[in-house]
């Protein structure tokens, strides 16, 4: 029995801004998947089974580059590795869900779902399975539909360069990189990965610039002194 405010329809209402924000990327994924040599069915299958926007974009970028299959799978894994932390953090809040519901809920753990669920728990609202799925299902169903619609229209576009479509992924990834800028040692990591990927691109060749450049950034993060996180009171003192 759920009170109003903890149920499926409250979750569905809470999902609307995320559905709107994700729509262009869902459509873009479908169109770019076609541009990179996937079929319409494969594009829809990828959105329905992988269901992780950034990693899907990375995946199709590598499909287009004809790299080894294991490297595509590994790159998707690398981009999605942050979800390990999401599931560790949110798992503690899922006490209301029995095991199989938890297992199902984790499938839908995309970035905005994690953010909304954490924010809800933070406000002291119960993280019910009904609310969680009310939020998850609209985002998921539309994401899959958008891949299909985008793929249908994407195959109609003959010259994607004129519309800049071939370059949108780079802009999108730049935006994602900037989105992480509040993290510890972000700038040294980004500088190391930039240099590493450009050098690897020149001297080793694509697609190794992805793994070698990424490794350069991670190594720098491990070597740098650990960030001392001041407690909020301390931070307030510094800023005032």
């Amino acid at each position: 029995m759920s009170q109003s405010g903890d149920g499926f329809f409250k979750g569905a209402r809470d999902s609307l801004p995320i559905v709107a924000a994700a729509a262009p990327f869902g459509l873009l994924f479908g169109a770019l998947a076609i541009d990179n040599g996937l079929s319409v069915g494969e594009a829809v299958l990828m959105s329905a089974t992988v269901y992780a926007g950034a990693s899907q974009m990375v995946g199709i970028e590598l499909f287009g580059a004809e790299v080894a299959p294991w490297l595509i799978v590994f790159s998707v894994f690398a981009v999605n590795f942050r979800h390990v932390l999401y599931s560790a953090a949110l798992g503690r809040r899922m006490g209301l869900m029995p095991g199989w519901r938890k297992a199902l809920a984790f499938f839908f753990l995309v970035d905005p779902q994690f953010a909304a669920a954490e924010a809800r728990a933070e406000r002291g609202r119960p993280l019910t399975f009904a609310w969680y799925m009310g939020m998850a299902l609209p985002i998921y169903v539309l994401w899959v539909l958008e891949a299909w619609i985008g793929a249908l229209f994407g195959s109609l576009i003959a010259n994607p360069e004129i519309y800049g479509l071939d370059f949108l992924l780079s802009i999108y990834f730049l935006g994602l990189v900037l989105g992480f800028r509040s993290r510890a040692n972000w700038l040294p990591v980004v500088v190391a990965s930039s240099l590493g990927s450009v050098l690897a691109y020149m001297f080793v060749g694509s697609p190794w610039h992805v793994s070698l450049g990424g490794l350069a950034g991670v190594v720098v993060a491990v070597m740098l002194p650990l960030d001392h996180k001041p407690d909020p009171g301390e931070a307030l003192k510094v800023s005032s």
Partner: protein
């Protein structure tokens, strides 16, 4: 990508492999990391760096080897993106690349 294994196209196997490793990341943190009292700080630092480190490698070569319109678009987006949310920066960047390419840069 072409080729097939056991009459299923290789693309399907890649997609299913990607789906399995993605689900593994979504359930793995709960299954593994929640058993530790806390994550070792260096491991935590490495994990935190992964997304920015990997995504950067997909942008930097495009900026360096892509061409004038591409480099200028990414540079302007970098500045815009520090002030404007992702969707806004993305829309502006899309207009910039169309305009700069049309201008023959």
């Amino acid at each position: 990508m072409s080729g097939a294994w056991s009459s299923v196209p290789i693309n399907i196997w890649i997609i299913l492999g990607a789906a399995i490793v993605t689900y593994a990341t979504r359930v793995g943190g709960y299954l593994v990391l929640s058993r530790f009292k806390r994550i070792p700080p260096r491991v935590d630092a490495a994990l935190n760096a992964v997304p920015a480190a990997v995504l950067t490698t997909l942008v930097a070569p495009a900026a360096v080897f892509g061409g004038g319109a591409e480099a200028l678009t990414l540079f302007l987006c970098l500045i815009i993106g520090l002030r404007v949310p992702l969707m806004g920066m993305f829309a502006i960047g899309w207009m910039l690349i169309i305009a700069l390419r049309a201008a023959g840069l």
